[in-house]
Point group: C2
């Protein structure tokens, strides 16, 4: 394995080093909007069949890179593999979100939780190693996990939720139990991400998908504090190179300053945030990743390109010490026309090169 | 009808005038968490049967006031009555959200839209008059509507949505059609709210429940601009007294300054916003309403009281020229134990009196 990369623009932008263009990758870029993904998933039989087989995971991770000149690959996996390894029984019914067979809802269930043996997640590390080999230095590979709080949401609710009633009831009624879950989650996530680095991941991203549902005050105590507990334990370097740490709190724009002070190299932003304002506030200390609304991809190609230019111009001309990685503000929709992604990637590359002239 | 009120603390706080305590009311305070509400709804047969019958609407509006010393009443109705009057066919299946039989999804459907004859909404104005009579000056009555953008979300999607794909596709692909819908909605909402004032409403609230799903830039152009178009047309006084205008954009904390500059007297805030920081930014020009997470009400009564005190202390000691109305950051959950509301209302009244000593 070598640290030589044909295209290291993503890693450089994460560290606020100069790049010739604004690098772009898309959350959930290996996904259902691609017919070749659907074909592989059909072969695998299920989402978990896909995620737990390193050959299939490698195949789908590389699919979007064959179509589009994306600047990074992201491990094909799920944010909930860690609680699955804790024995909660993760499954995905077709057309529905994730579901746990054994949710954690009372003191007895919390008492049995522990940091899982990382050997149970070997399929993930095998996939990382396999993908790195298949990438052959084209672009860097991003490893990831859900944040301690986001994992806790699913672990307590047992599935997605629209009001987070069960997990917030525990938070307000039994904060001791919630802190215990979050401590275990944080240490498990840190071990998991470090093992991904050992297997070949060149950047790490923590998805705090549900941090934004918390109240001011509760967010800091129950989400951010445990994301920081993860960050403090993460490896900083691998293969002689810095491993950038990315934190994305969906709906976290209100807390941008606090998140940016938490120790990550890159802060992911959703589309509600004004990129220029965010850059003015924290752009000297962290790179910013985002933030196109995925629904823009349902417009015509020339409209997609115009909105992409709007995001680039909102961040402004890259300068020494600032960094922007173009992304969506959420995972790409399964209904997205693949040709929209083509229009997007080309517009970002072309316009961001012009902005540097 | 007379403008004399036994308790006008809510109206005074809206206008940033001194009050002896912090007034409190709760979004959806007349609702399914109350057994007496469920009994009336069973008599009415359906949600729309309840909302369209002024006697039933009066009965349920007053129910929470019989239990709790709340400082305001809010008309029992739905945010979607205006598009129903446009002919879209509103219904509520039990256990589900609202649904329109005739969603607006193409140019032909948009072309037929117009501001409805307010006579079709007479059941609402009759309810307002009946409730005012029944209140007999105890507390003021709030009238309301959905915002132009929030109505458009439901009109295009035809129901609730978790990705707003259809309405945002129209927004990005056919902004001309979206602006046309929003113009009609704004003028209809203004006429509707003014007719509520004529019938006896003493304050008006615009629920921009889905403003927060828009991208920065799109929010200003497609939500805020049309909320302002409503505000510019609203009556300012009735019965010799100012009628406060409240705007609540759920998820709009990022845009607080722009919303506060839009002409409303009161800005509603959800629980993600730090009340003290919001007061420092805009509290000299608008009153603030909010912002307890409704899930706090699943904790024990003493925990509910402690969280309520936290919200009051976050706003800080009321002073001349500032105003705070206590509320939740979203409608109360149907699963809320009624005794939690008791603990909440008493904690807010008692602690806020102590803060003024």
């Amino acid at each position: 394995m070598t640290a030589t990369l044909a295209n290291d623009s993503f890693l450089r932008a994460c560290l606020r080093e100069p790049t010739g263009h604004t690098p772009i990758w898309l959350m959930r870029q290996a996904g259902r909007y691609l017919p070749e993904y659907r074909a592989t998933r059909a072969k695998a039989g299920s989402f978990m069949g896909l995620a737990t087989n390193p050959d299939f995971a490698t195949e789908v991770t590389l699919q979007p890179l064959e179509r589009y000149p994306l600047d990074a690959a992201i491990l094909f996996s799920d944010i909930l593999t860690v609680p699955d390894a804790m024995g909660l029984g993760l499954s995905f019914a077709l057309g529905e979100g994730p579901r746990f067979a054994h949710p954690v809802r009372d003191e007895a269930a919390v008492a049995t939780l522990e940091v899982p043996d990382m050997a149970r997640l070997r399929y993930v590390f095998d996939a990382v190693a396999s993908i790195r080999k298949a990438l052959a230095g084209r672009v860097p590979l991003i490893g990831f996990s859900g944040s301690p709080w986001t994992l806790a949401c699913y672990m307590v609710e047992g599935a997605g939720s629209d009001d987070y009633r069960l997990v917030k009831t525990m938070l307000y009624r039994r904060p001791d139990l919630m802190h215990r879950i979050l401590e275990i989650n944080a240490d498990a996530v840190a071990a998991y991400l470090n093992a991904q680095v050992d297997a070949g991941a060149q950047a790490l991203m923590i998805f705090d998908s549900w941090g934004g549902v918390l109240a001011d005050g509760a967010f800091q105590a129950f989400s951010l504090a445990y994301t920081q507990r993860v960050l403090r334990q993460l490896k900083r370097d691998s293969e002689g190179r810095r491993v950038p740490h990315i934190v994305f709190t969906k709906g976290g724009g209100m807390w941008l300053d606090e998140i940016a002070a938490g120790g990550a190299d890159v802060i992911g932003l959703d589309w509600t945030v004004n990129l220029g304002a965010a850059r003015a506030r924290v752009g000297a200390s962290v790179a910013l990743q985002g933030n196109l609304d995925p629904n823009v991809l349902f417009a015509a190609p020339e409209q997609v390109a115009a909105e992409a230019v709007g995001v680039l111009e909102s961040f402004g001309r890259p300068s020494a010490g600032s960094g922007h990685i173009f992304n969506l503000g959420h995972g790409i929709s399964q209904h997205t026309p693949p040709e929209s992604v083509d229009a997007l990637v080309h517009a970002v590359h072309e316009h961001s090169r012009r902005m540097r002239e």
